[in-house]
């Protein structure tokens, strides 16, 4: 997923999260909000069916959205972590091994021959 896509997803998810929380609370209210047009004075209580539906929505709907949002964020972080750790390419100049000093190595090898054979 591209960087821009990730950013967008992050924004979307956080916004959804806050909306879900708001909605959850809204569902929890006992009295309904009324538009100004209808029945300005008296507040009608919710019908039982509306209550029960509201309750269901609260639990399964909004809570689920909250949790799903968080899980999405977790998956996203995991994605990003993976990308970071797994797609590193060694830099040719910076990471290459030290150069061998050929002359010194040749001398050392000579010494080896002498040491091993000399003691025979």
């Amino acid at each position: 997923m591209s960087d821009k896509g990730l950013l967008e997803q992050l924004n979307r998810t956080t916004e959804t999260l806050s909306h879900s929380l708001t909605n959850l609370i809204r569902y929890a209210s006992i009295s309904t909000e009324k538009d100004d047009e209808e029945h300005g004075a008296q507040e009608l209580p919710e019908s039982t069916s509306k209550t029960s539906t509201g309750g269901l929505m609260m639990v399964s709907g909004q809570t689920a959205q909250l949790i799903r949002g968080i899980q999405d964020l977790m998956v996203m972080t995991r994605n990003i972590r993976e990308k970071w750790v797994l797609t590193q390419i060694p830099d040719e100049k910076a990471d290459s091994q030290q150069e061998l000093e050929m002359a010194k190595c040749a001398d050392l090898l000579e010494e080896w021959s002498k040491a091993v054979l000399g003691k025979i």
């Binding site: 591209s2 960087d3 821009k4 950013l7 924004n11 956080t14 916004e15 806050s18 929380l21 708001t22 609370i25 809204r26 929890a28 209210s29 006992i30 009295s31 009608l44 919710e46 019908s47 039982t48 069916s49 509306k50 209550t51 029960s52 539906t53 509201g54 269901l56 929505m57 399964s60 709907g61 689920a64």
Partner: protein, 215 residues
């Protein structure tokens, strides 16, 4: 029930008397009917799925459940919208209803009482409310309820305020935007450019070299 002897005279009867159907709230009923049909359909589908010997995957079940929830939600909203209208309507059977044959059917169709499960749920809910009508006076009760509403309103207001504190899109914080309104007006995102830009186009000689000599 092969023959319906009552139907022929009934039809004659209806053709004679014009029933006044003007009070049937057609629009409301139609809306409700549509939603209700959808809901029934999905519920039936889910029931069939659950009744199968090997259950389908949980996420398909979950999706169906959420679909049902949305449908239920829309149904309740329509009902609520037409609540007043529907509340003030009374249904009664007309003469054409074959009461002799299907008396039970009529009572079932027209009953308004909740099924016992629903009754028990409502009862449980009342108990959970924790307010005993007998011990508290009605004023106290009303006060309790009012406090409840206050709490909810406060919570909502708080959330709304918090919400406005954040800028959910773009790359600047809400504070920065409030200070400098021109920020975030356009899409500022710059994708990072990698350092390894391949040489273009490929060189024929180098390709041939690779083919013959290896890397």
């Amino acid at each position: 029930m092969s023959d319906r002897p009552g139907s022929a005279p009934a039809i004659n009867a209806s053709s004679q008397e014009e029933f006044n159907f003007q009070h049937v709230p057609a629009q409301a009923l139609d809306a409700v009917r549509m939603r209700l049909a959808q809901l029934t359909h999905s519920l039936a589908k889910l029931k069939d799925e659950m009744a199968k010997a090997d259950l389908p995957q949980w996420y398909s079940l979950q999706m169906q459940v959420s679909v049902i929830l949305t449908q239920l939600q829309s149904l309740t909203t329509t009902l609520h919208h037409f609540e007043e209208l529907l509340d003030s309507t009374i249904v009664y059977p007309v003469g054409t209803f074959p009461t002799t044959a299907h008396e039970g059917l009529l009572t079932t169709l027209l009953r308004k009482k909740n099924i016992p499960e629903a009754e028990s749920w409502i009862h449980d809910a009342k108990e959970t409310a924790g307010i005993d009508l007998n011990t508290m006076s009605s004023d106290d009760v009303k006060k309790c309820l009012k406090d409840d509403e206050e709490v909810t309103k406060w919570a909502l207001g708080f959330l709304k305020q918090e919400h406005s504190n954040y800028a959910f899109r773009g790359l600047h914080t809400s504070q920065e935007i409030s200070e400098n309104p021109t920020l975030g007006a356009y899409d500022e995102y710059q994708p990072s450019v990698s350092n390894n830009i391949p040489k273009q186009p490929f060189d024929v000689d180098s390709i041939l070299k690779i083919i013959h000599q290896g890397a």
